[in-house]
Amino acid sequence: MNLKATYRALVAAVWLALGASSGTAGTLAGSAHDFSTASWGGGQICVPCHTPHKANAGVSAAPLWNHTVTTQVYTLYALLGGKAIMGQPTVGDKLCLSCHDGTVALDSYRGLTGATFVSAANNLGTNLGVHHPSSFHYDTSLATANGSLFDPTTKLVTIGTGTQVKTGTIGAILLSAGQVQCSSCHDVHNTFNATTKNLLKMSMATSAMCFACHNY
């Protein structure tokens, strides 16, 4: 037997073993975004959102986009006295809302129109006024004007648990091009496997996710 091949096989086996067990590395498989078990998922995890060929080139926020993008115009979050400038959801948020606003079917991908919509519990609807504000610029001047937000350029946060952790400033770790987005709190691929529900980047024990940005 070729010792090198055996060694390689052994390493591969260890890799697989490590990869298959949850808790040692983030995993999309088995998470809420594992669409392979859904009747409309085609038995695949990635395809409702991504495709390696003939992807939607107009989507810049995600690579190789495969899902129909929502065209909904939303009622925006409007807090009395809020200092952030709110606008319609920008590209990253639009991708999340393309399933989660309830206007586009989950299985509307690959150019086809589907018929299965997101469950009521996960349907954010088209009134964003009842949801945490998103798609706005979160910078030092906003933090100063607001008075109860951390400075995103200096406040350090740690996301994930166990071996899958990442530490950095709010701006580096949570914001997307300086904006708060769905992805600021939610870990779409469950990379960091931080919570058992809601695909959050941080545990909600002691509401840590909230206190990452909110200085209370």
């Binding site: 954010l124 009842v130 109860s148 200096t154 002691t206």
Partner: protein, 553 residues
């Protein structure tokens, strides 16, 4: 620089950055508003680990407030009202309803929109525990008014309020210009205790909005007196240990106040004064004065006194605050004593004087033109119960209280320091029998006396001590062959039988006979400058005096 030292300096710099990144706020996790299982208070969840969820949720929140996770209370509240409140506070609105969704005790603390079942709390607690400091209930009539428009017009109409344009610091109105719970409280930050937005030492928080007339020189603002540890604590709800440190909270509390209408610590008016003015904080014990035989009956009424009442009091009552302004009083002597400054009075002409410039004006609020007064103690020839009319300087004779009287008594027959030009105060005769006016150590003032009619000294006998305080016995001829000697010595009559101690409308020398003893027909006084040529025409105890002259009857 060695790498080790460089690394150490970098670590220090990193730590400093972390400290600077955390401003001086006491985080909500360390406060009683952390209702999770890790909370520091007695009210907390059994197992729930999230802190924010009791009020906030990131998705599907109620639009009433920032990501609000609680239902709006459906209660009808009893709002604060009083005769002096000009802000028409109605039902709670906006931000205050958020606070009341826990603090009115009607909605379970763990009942949130994002959960189908209420979050369970330890100890079987569901709603805010009754009797706890945080339980306001739905009767807000004993709580500081909220949910009213605090406008410049309100401030100028009501007076003693700052213009709301100055409220740009820690104390703010809400975005609609209304005063809400949030003006004084910050729900996330307990740095100063009671979730206050600033410390309330010396009532600094109260005074951001409230500016009381006369306060800057008052003893309740300035006094460093402390409690001697005896009797009930005068300050059970604060940590202040001096009068000055407590300031407003010496008498007032903003929530669940027993004395609802004016947010006072005690339900009885005098109950607000006694905890200090019983000798345990203030030097003198006023409270014990009201146990004497003749008193101003402050305990006789509760809830009758109203700061908005007319200058002339017609609903018969007396409280400490009818004579004293607790926002103004001090110990500074003056034309009016410091204890009486800032109080309304009625002038000699019956018109209100505000503030009173002489002590008698304060007495005239009740003892002059007021309706419902009892009949005078002594029925007299020209008797009436309006004391103000007794002391009119247009009367034939009077004790000089409201001004100099037409008949002047020579200094030579007055006890020093009284002179012919002395002006008296009511308190020269009506006062504490053991007060400084009678060489005692008790508190000055007509609070109580062992003598009837709140007299400082006895008025009985043939040589009453109260008269002898000022009138020497050489003036009134108690000796020799005089009518005074015959009446007081032989017969044993008192001064009161013939003389009115206040004033006489028609006759000099305060002659105004007691008609229960004297059947009066006429009296001719002595001619001025000629002694003893007057005559009496009356019957006394069946003894007829038919034009008896002073020396010959």
């Amino acid at each position: 620089m060695r790498p080790y030292r460089a690394a150490w300096m970098a670590a220090v710099a990193f730590a400093c950055a972390l400290v600077l990144a955390f401003p001086a706020r006491a985080g909500v996790a360390t406060t009683k508003h952390n209702l999770s299982a890790s909370g520091p208070g007695t009210v907390k969840a059994a197992t729930e680990a999230q802190i924010c969820v009791f009020c906030h949720a990131p998705h599907n929140s109620a639009p009433s407030a920032p990501l609000w996770n609680r239902q709006t209370p459906g209660s009808t509240y009893t709002p604060y009202t009083s005769s002096t409140a000009k802000a028409a506070a109605g039902q709670p609105t906006r931000g205050s309803l958020l606070c009341l969704s826990c603090h009115d005790g009607t909605i379970a603390l763990g009942q949130v929109l994002s959960r189908t079942a209420p979050i369970s709390m330890t100890g079987g607690v569901s709603t805010m525990p009754a009797g706890s400091a945080g339980h306001l209930g739905t009767d807000l009539s004993g709580d500081h008014p909220i949910s009213f428009a605090y406008t410049s017009t309100l401030a100028s109409t009501r007076g003693e309020l700052v213009d709301p344009g100055t409220l740009t610091g820690a104390v703010r109105l809400d975005s609609g210009g209304q005063m809400q719970c949030s003006a004084c409280h910050d729900a996330h930050n307990d740095l100063y205790g009671k979730f206050l937005v600033m410390p309330n030492t010396a009532s600094a928080l109260c005074q951001v909005c409230h500016v009381k007339d006369y306060w800057s020189a008052s003893d309740h603002k300035l006094s460093a007196k402390t409690w001697n540890g005896s009797g009930p604590s005068p300050w059970p709800h604060t940590s202040g240990t001096t009068v000055a440190a407590n300031a407003c909270e010496g008498c007032h509390r903003p929530h669940t106040a027993p004395g609802k209408k004016w947010l006072q610590n005690a339900a009885t008016e005098e109950g607000n004064c006694y905890p200090c003015h019983n000798g345990n904080v203030a030097a003198k014990n006023i409270q014990t004065e009201f146990a004497k035989a003749s008193i101003h009956p402050v305990a006789g009424t509760t809830g009758v006194h109203d700061p908005a009442e007319s200058g002339i009091v017609n609903s018969r009552h007396v409280e400490c605050v009818d004579c004293h302004n607790p926002h103004a009083s001090n110990a500074v002597a003056g034309t009016i004593p410091g204890s009486l400054i800032g109080v309304r009075g009625i002038g000699i002409n019956g018109v209100e004087v505000n503030p009173a410039t002489a002590a008698y004006q304060i007495c005239y609020r009740c003892h002059a033109d007021s309706s419902g007064q009892p009949a005078p103690k002594t029925a007299r020839v020209t008797g009436q119960n309006n004391t103000r009319l007794d002391f009119l300087t247009s009367n034939k004779s009077c004790h000089p209280v409201a001004g100099a009287c037409p008949q002047v008594t020579p200094s030579s027959v007055l006890v020093s320091p009284w002179t012919s030009s002395s002006i008296l105060k009511c308190g020269d005769c009506h006062n504490n029998n053991a007060g400084p006016g009678n060489n005692g150590t008790g508190p000055a003032g007509p609070h109580g006396s062992t003598n009837p009619s709140l007299l400082e000294r006895s008025y009985t006998g043939t040589r009453p001590a109260i008269c002898a305080k000022c009138h020497t016995t050489t003036y009134v001829k108690f000796n020799g062959d005089s009518s005074h000697r015959k009446h007081t010595g032989d017969i044993g009559a008192t001064c009161n039988t013939c003389h009115d101690p206040h004033g006489s409308l028609n006759y000099p020398s305060l002659i105004n006979f007691d008609t229960s003893l004297v059947t009066f027909r006429s009296f001719t006084p002595s001619t001025a400058g000629q002694a003893n040529n007057g005559s009496c025409n009356l019957t006394c105890h069946g003894k007829n005096h038919n034009n008896c002259s002073y020396n010959n009857c």
